[in-house]
Subunit: 238 residues, 2 copies
């Protein structure tokens, strides 16, 4: 009685639908001290021309993770960057064009990383997360959800690694964390904690672009990071 309400017996006759992936691409603008998101004008109807996350339909013979990697590569030329599945958006009426299930992915890239000509081809632009325009369908919601996850999980995520350039200074890293948590962090305590993790390698060079004295540059220790990933780590600030 309840049994025949289980609909998975219709394996060969059941509904098929469109499946899409959408990427929320985060970058950190070191000069502006702002976290930004890469958006582009949607290329198809409905909502052609409106600002949108970068997305695509998944092809029948394509893994969903591969689809996400594909569109990221198509738009930025980047491969092998942090790109993870986040959430599925599956309301029946979310897309007026058709029933579409959309899987959001989030990605952290170095803001100087993308191939400029690809960006330009697609008329893509970086928007500060505090100032995202109206986006198509439920993409604003996707961005909100991703931001809230970022704030919740920054302590466990390789945010510094992925969002900052190869060489960076401690004041830059501090500003990134302050931007994520939207609050000031004591710089002496920050230095102690972040250096204590062993994740940073101090370089001999100095970056003098933002002060006369110059700040020492650091790079991330990938090996140490992977070691910590195993043990489970946690960097918390105040």
């Amino acid at each position: 009685m309840a049994k025949h309400r289980l609909t998975n017996k219709y394996y060969y006759g059941t509904d098929r639908m469109l499946v899409a992936v959408d990427c929320i691409i985060f970058g950190f603008d070191v000069k502006a001290e702002q976290i930004k998101i890469l958006l582009f004008p949607r290329e198809i109807e409905p909502f052609q021309g409106s600002w949108s996350l970068i997305g695509s339909f998944v092809q029948k013979k394509e893994d969903i993770d591969k689809a996400a990697a594909r569109i990221l590569r198509e738009l930025t030329g980047l491969d092998q960057v942090f790109l993870e599945q986040h959430k599925v958006y599956g309301h029946t009426n979310r897309d007026p064009g058709d029933r579409v299930i959309s899987i959001s992915y989030w990605s952290f890239i170095k803001i100087e990383g993308p191939d400029r000509s690809l960006i330009k081809d697609h008329n893509a632009e970086w928007f500060p997360v505090r100032n995202i325009p109206k986006l198509v369908i439920d993409h604003n919601q996707m961005v909100e959800d991703a931001l809230s996850l970022m704030r919740k999980n920054a302590r466990y995520l390789p945010i510094g690694f992925e969002l900052l350039p190869e060489k960076f200074t401690l004041p830059q890293l501090l500003k990134l964390y302050q931007e994520i948590y939207q609050k000031p962090i004591d710089d002496r305590n920050f230095r102690k904690k972040i250096l204590a993790t062993g994740l940073l390698k101090k370089l001999d060079s100095k970056d003098k672009t933002s002060s006369k004295k110059g700040a020492f540059q650091y790079s991330f220790d990938q090996t140490k990071y992977e070691e910590l990933l195993q043990k489970g780590f946690d960097i918390e600030f105040q």
Copy 2:
């Protein structure tokens, strides 16, 4: 050039696929002091009769969250329980029957909650998480992933609320947490911490099923829990 590789322009001609939801239903067997998962023998080919998570295809006019709630209700009679989306499994070859994207949901229920006749109709059984049989397709992976998320996030999750009966004792709650973390927790410190949250209401009654002295019963304060959810809370043990 890169532009025409963006495939989302094929909005009306692109591939459609089957979308399924699968539920990982957790319960805590207080007597056995074990976390268990509800499984049933798959009702359709391929793999008919093999142990499987509870799942179903999503219908064209059905929200994915509704689909998950529907199958949980069909199998247990339960509604309004903790049920959250977890992860999407989308490899092209995961299901030999067809291309199927599957969205896993996880749920915490009171082990005595389900309607026994529904459970029996579907030949469903509870299996301890330490002893899950071989499941169809990638369902073992889904269980692994859910367990690892549970261990990672137990501090933020309403695990006690959902997995324990309405009235429970501190020794029972302690055993639940020890089972999750797979390590002993000092009971004096545990009591201090858990009581300090204000989440528990001490009742006058005692549960004498496991000792002659009897242990005081407690219930959860839902209001307090929702208040803490806002602020973001964190219960950590050793």
